[in-house]
């Protein structure tokens, strides 16, 4: 019995060590070049969110109630994301996140913050892009 517990503790320690190592790894990727960032990160296929050590926490606090698209479609500052949490708490019965709030905000700020490259409407009307040209039947 004691052996089993020790083994569990050991496995746990290895897992924690491995996951913190992975976080560091992905951080190294994050601070590469602008929009390259998202390409080099693991994406959770079910939600489309960046898969890091805190993904399950974000899923249980956020996408339990709403679509992950509500995160994916936006780029807010930390203060902006905190505003959204407070708004959901005020009007939509979001619970007190307690200590998880910092974890969720760290995650959102890190992967879903505004960056110059993401803001497509730098001009009051940006150039049209992604045009799929086709031959019109006249």
């Amino acid at each position: 019995m004691m052996k089993a517990v020790k083994l569990m503790v050991f496995i746990g320690a290895v897992l924690i060590g491995a996951s913190s190592f992975r976080v560091q790894n992905s951080e190294a990727n994050v601070y590469t070049v602008g929009n390259q960032m998202i390409d080099t990160l693991k994406i959770d296929t079910e939600s489309g969110l960046v898969a890091d050590a805190n993904l399950m926490m974000v899923k249980s606090q956020c996408t339990a109630c709403h679509s992950s698209k509500l995160i994916l479609q936006h780029r807010f500052t930390r203060a902006g994301w905190l505003d959204r949490i407070r708004w959901m708490q005020k009007y939509h019965k979001l619970w007190d996140l307690g200590e998880s709030e910092k974890v969720v905000l760290d995650y959102l700020e890190k992967y879903y913050g505004p960056s110059a490259i993401d803001s497509k409407a730098t001009f009051r009307r940006a150039s049209l892009n992604d045009i799929q040209w086709y031959k019109l039947n006249q």
Binding site: M56, C65, H66, S67, A121, R125, L136
Partner: protein, 412 residues
Amino acid sequence: MKKQIHDRRGFLQKSALATLTALVGTDVVFADQIPQYHTPLAFDNDPLKGKIPDMKVLGDKPWNVEAPIHQLDDAVTPVEKMFVRNNGLIPSEPINPDTWTLTIKGESVKATKTYTLNDLKKRFQPHTYQLVLECGGNGRSGFEPQTTGNPWDQGAVSCAEWTGVRLKDILADVGLKEDAVYIGYYGKDPHLSQDPTKVSISRGVPIKKALEAETLIAWAVNGKDIPLVHGYPLRLVIGGWPASVSGKWLHTIAVRNKVHDGAKMEGHSYRMPIRPVQPGEKIAETPENFRIIESMPVKSLITYPKTGAMFELKKPLALRGHAWAGDRMVADVHTSIDYGATWQKAKLQPPKNRLAWQQWSTEITFPQAGYYEVWVRATDSSGATQPMVIPQWNPGGYLNNACHRIAVKALV
């Protein structure tokens, strides 16, 4: 009665959890932490079944889906091309139209009165109108800095043919007090948290708008029952204002002696700053700072051809689309192929009825081969026109009525 998946206190029943596990095919992680009243998404209805395949899904919880602009070419929008904007969940309880009722209540009715759906059909004169329903946030993705809310492109608009009875006929039958100010609707869509005490959305309009001839309590769209996702079996339909006033799955209308204070009437929801703000500026979300959006602004779309058309320079290019202006009429539509330096007047048809969109068409001959943008600009009956740039930034990202444009290439 359908078996409830939650117990009395709102927690998932063990048996429901077993069903859910079977459905999902795996253990549900954190099942013991699923919030009270929460039903996992597997139980929600799929509103995409009745839609064309290229509808753009902005979100599935709640469902928010828009049409590509070239798919809005029909004068009367077919339901398979109608945008979906939900604030809560689609009702999952079975709906029986034979037992469905509409209750009229509130401070400003002489007495509360309840009608069955069949009462409404039998006792009042039915009317049919083509009505523009446009999300207040249509075009939101154009605002910078980005605002909260669904980042709609410009496809959250429809003009379908709705059939029902006039709200004013029902209210006359109920009897109103002198002090009626506003109406507010209530529907059966559960709140996202699935807490039965929370209302997902309950908005309304001033009594004057409620009593217009075109304000309908509708049970049919384009000659058929309203599809579930659009409000089956009964919907309040009010053209020309943000479509969020057209409450779906309608069961109650309250006639209020003050501005309705339901869900999504508060804060900056469907409101504009009274004084113009700098882009990104934060102001307190108080009634002193924000006014409720009423009529939508003038707007137009090029629905044919689809952007990206390559055509022969020697033939003129035929273009067409719609224009609408909230409570007003559209007076003129112009197009430009030189970024607004010069504008050419298009042909414009009158609306089928008040609050319907109007069809415009034109033929353009291009001066030489190359890349062009065709811009369209409508002007309403008061002389207000669409801006070419993105209009006044606002915290909710509402009312972007900037000109629509498409890219085309003239080939030799």
